[in-house]
Amino acid sequence: MKTLLNWLDQRTGLVTVAQTCLNRPVPGGASWFKVWPCTIAFTFCVQAITGFFLWMYYSPGAQTAWESVYFLQHEVIGGWLLRAVHHYSAQTLLVLIGIYLVQQIIIGAYRAPREFVFWATVLMGLVTFALLLTGDLLAWDQNSYACTQVRTKFLTLLPMVGGEFYKLAIGGPAFGHLTLTRFVALHIGLFGGGFLLLLVLHHVAVYRADTAKSKSAEKSTPLWPDQIMRNTVARLVVMVVILLLALQHGVSADHAGVALGSPADLDPSNYYAAARPEWAFLGLYEFSHLFPGELAILPIFCIPGLLVCVALAMPLLGRCRAGHYFNVAFTVVILVGITVLSFRSVAKDRADADHQIAIADEIAQADRVRQLARSPEGIPATGALTLLRNDPLTQGPKLFKQHCAICHDHLDAQQKGIKAEESSAPNLFGFADRKWIAGLLDPKQINGPGYFGNTAFKGGDMAEFIEEMLADLDEDEQKDIEKLVMALSAEAHLRSQRELDAKHAEARQGRQLLLDDYGCTDCHKFHDKGKLGHGTDLTGYGSRQWLVGIIANPAHKRFYGKENDRMPAYAKDILSDRDIALLVDWLRGQWYVEGLGIGD
């Protein structure tokens, strides 16, 4: 063993280097206050190790970045923990550097001969910010995309070169594949590598300063084992803290570790309004709001730049006593300022109802895309965003709000849902299901706001028929109407009523009532009987094809013909066939449900 070590040392000198490091003198003896550099180096190690394995799963590309993170988070055993440890060790790194810096300032440890120790630490802090900023985007979800969009747009504030800097930062005129490839390279290569260099510089500077000092100091002990024991205990504590942070949301739920939002949508109309930077940037975020828009360059570039300059000048300022006091006071003011601003920002958001709604919507969307990604069809090559864009449950409410909720409500029995700007057409919640049709045939409801109340059909032929013929029914007649409702509602083939519709006997009686006793086909067409031209076609009433038809063109003779009230023909220039189909599927409840599929 000894000869082997000797041989190794002769050839490489490694054993001597290791011994020198282990036995290097610690002036003033071992202390728990001296563990910070080691914990910083350790946390960076955790970053490097977990980052390396994350790298194996990451696929930078606008249609693969989110998808690969999704895969890691949900399909790879322990993938979520890997992500979470990487995420929280970055936060921890920043905190540790902060503590170390403040300690150096307070005890005046930045003074000669330790200037380089201090400068290296400040730069490590800045590089950690850069690591956080570049790493944030890589998940490529709505929040990280929106935040990075804003941050990179700040570059355009710079005079003359702003536009060019922006393009260089994001790899082109707009976000996309090249933004991600660029950010990966910056994150790992430049900032990861840069941090390592600074760490080495820092440790060399510490070694030099300590060796010089130990010659004069009355008491000094070697690093091994007393100080190293303290260092490693501190390291383990840091690791446990990181693990606890990573495990705070449990281990098995979909939300274990760091939540992954819904995939980044470059469509500006789907911009995520509630995007907020990570806690470390909240102070700056709030600070920038203190300035009017034209002066944004001050809080974003000038003032932070000035602060960094002051920080870098501290070792020089600290040479005199007054300078040292200034440094300490300056640090306290900055820390207090950042804390106050950060809390103010959080408090503002808490009180902002719109902000909370936007967050809830985004969480719902993230849940939804996860369900769709897990469906047997999986994620298509065009990316997970396609799943959301083709999903009636996601797109239906948006389309309804934009195009239908001018007149139509979509409100359930508790009056929850989408309220029309000015309710002036039937409430379409549960359209064509039994309850809805029963309401339509109810003399008390037909002229109410949920049906014809605010339309041209109020008091029209249909309403009149219902009020005259269907009022004051005896028990048998009421049963008949129930059967008629079943028959008509079965035409819609709604998924929610599949079991109910399967009971044929009553529906068959209802059909007969519809055709004969109640004479519906005097005005309406129903399969082979009756003619088009007066009332709407009852054949397939509320079915997918029927709804697509009426939205496409309500003035078609199959629907309202010349009597059409105000409803526009959406197929002409307003909605694409695809959008109409999405809207119809949403109205009919025909979307993918885990375990049930899409339905027919």
């Binding site: 290791a18 011994q19 977990t50 690969s68 440890v85 383990l236 693990l243």
Partner: protein, 187 residues
Amino acid sequence: MTPPEQPKSSDGRRGFIVKTIALICGGFSLLIPAAIGVVAFLNPLRQKSTGGDFIKLASLEVLPEDGTPRKFPVVADRTDAWNRFPDEPIGAVFLRRTAENKVEALQVVCPHAGCSVVYEASAGEKTGKFFCPCHAASFGLGGERLDKTSPSPRDMDSLDVEVRNNTEVWVKFQNFQSGAAKKIVQT
């Protein structure tokens, strides 16, 4: 030369405890992130390759009566990590009629190193043979090796065939590890 375990300071029992704590804490703290990473690294071992299902490849009529082999693509859903691609070509199979109602199937993948075997209908001779262009292995129509010393460690890989409803040719499509003397299914 003094190994780091025996420095001059901190001797005795206290020194021993301090050193033990240092080694244990130092080891564990690094072991945790490394272990988490390695678990994720090993995930591919859990993933199964597709195949093993019977797939309908052709109808009986298109196979020549004289037993000339024909190559058919195998089309199936393909999964690539998070992406699913419906109906993609995932391989190919030679089908050959051996009797009125009997069909033999051979993997096109060469058992040597995984090249794609081609069928050569040689002029003059009555029947052709299979030939692998990569290292010049020849196989007979039944997939048997023809060279005295073949680069291929085994005969071409046959696949299970079922003729259903007297017309449909179904094949249990599988891939096998190349280079081995035995047929080993890739999982």
